[in-house]
């Protein structure tokens, strides 16, 4: 999105994220916006048979950025990013949670069902469940 539409789109994503998790819970990684680094999941890298080791080496830059924030959750904007960052979290041992934005939007609106919490950590996996199910 940012690649095609520029930093304004990235700013809108930050507005949504802050609205959902609260301004005080949002930590921007450094560098960010157009100076940010690609995670290494895109461009077919995840599907590039024979290049798995290179993909993780590429992704170490992103993993280091995420670790430097100290955040326990990383929000990823697309499927490739989600797969890659989730793998980086396991591979490099950071063990931060990696979530889609739709999960946090639905959670914040009090409508995230029990089966829709695959990527939430123990701290949030029961959050607000009582109001959803009978």
């Amino acid at each position: 999105m940012r690649k095609t539409f520029g930093d304004d789109v990235a700013k809108e994503m930050r507005f949504v994220t802050k609205s959902v998790v609260g301004e005080e819970n949002f930590i921007d990684m450094q560098p960010n916006m157009s100076n940010n680094f690609c995670c290494g999941g895109g461009g077919g890298f995840l599907q590039a048979t024979g290049y798995g080791e290179q993909r993780r080496q590429y992704g170490k830059v992103k993993n280091d950025q995420i670790m430097a924030t100290g955040a326990t959750y990383c929000i990823t904007p697309c499927h490739n990013c989600h797969s890659q960052v989730h793998d980086l979290s396991e591979h490099f041992g950071g063990h931060y949670q990696v979530v889609h934005l739709w999960t946090l939007i639905a959670l914040s609106l009090g409508m995230l069902g029990e089966n829709e919490r695959e990527y939430l950590g123990e701290d949030l996996c029961e959050c607000g469940l009582g109001s959803i199910e009978e």
Binding site: G43, G44, K62, G113
Partner: protein, 244 residues
């Protein structure tokens, strides 16, 4: 790499691979404007992989080392994220050069996973890179929806339209959810439902992904984009929402 030192000059200049790529890019991709500063490489996560980096790659192209740049596996390590273009004072489009070098590989020698994803999309009416057929997609969507409506009273009236003519939004769906984790489709449905959006899935061209682009297979890439765009038009939808 060349074994002997390169001899510059002497005799007519030969047309290089880079020259040919410049002919098909707007402004020639500015490929011949490199100042050799290295801003591209300093911020590229692919720097060092396969013994290559963006500046080295471009310099080799400029020197006419065509065989090397069209054979290095580094082109499959560049995600074409375009950070190098952003950093470049001359706005040089290295990712487009990478794209064209990928295309120079014989199709059967390009990475199997990307090729297989492209071929699967070409072989299914939904253009699914995971090869999911449309009947299965529809079944999974309806099955998951039924469960949500039963278990979660606040969504007992939620609709997930499929092939709804005249809906405002045609929404693509990445194959990964219906194939491997169907419950992950639900949060987005809920958001659309709560927002009151008039949307639909389709059974034709429903998959959001298009690996033919990453395979640098122009013909297949175009074919898939056109099939998906036609599916949106055929349902008379005003907007095409592609989540990838």
């Amino acid at each position: 790499m060349a074994e002997a030192a390169l001899k510059i000059g002497g005799g007519p200049r030969q047309t290089t691979f880079m020259d040919k790529v410049m002919e098909v890019l707007p402004e020639g991709g500015n490929l011949n404007l490199c100042l050799t500063c290295g801003a591209c490489s300093s911020g590229c996560p692919a720097t060092g992989l396969e013994g290559m980096d963006p500046r080295k790659f471009l310099r080799m192209a400029a020197l006419g080392l065509d065989e090397e740049i069209t054979k290095t596996g580094w082109v499959w390590c560049c995600t074409q994220c375009r950070r190098c273009v952003h950093a470049c004072p001359m706005n040089i489009d290295i990712p487009r050069l990478v794209y064209n070098c990928r295309a120079a590989w014989p199709r059967e020698e390009r990475p199997k996973g990307i090729r297989g994803s492209c071929d699967a999309a070409l072989n299914t009416e939904g253009n699914s890179a995971m090869g999911a057929n449309s009947e299965d997609f529809q079944f999974v969507v309806e099955d998951v929806l039924e469960e949500v409506r039963e278990d979660q009273p606040q969504f007992k009236d939620m609709q997930v339209p499929i092939n709804k003519h005249g809906a405002m939004y045609f929404l693509n769906q990445n194959s990964r959810e219906p194939v491997t984790e169907p419950d992950e489709m639900v949060p987005l449905w809920k958001i659309l439902h709560t927002a009151g959006a008039d949307w639909t899935y389709g059974t034709i061209g429903w998959a959001a992904e298009n690996y033919c682009m990453f395979l640098s297979d122009d013909e297949a890439w175009e074919k898939i984009v056109r099939a998906k765009a036609k599916a949106v038009d055929d349902l008379g939808c005003e907007y095409w929402l592609n989540t990838e």
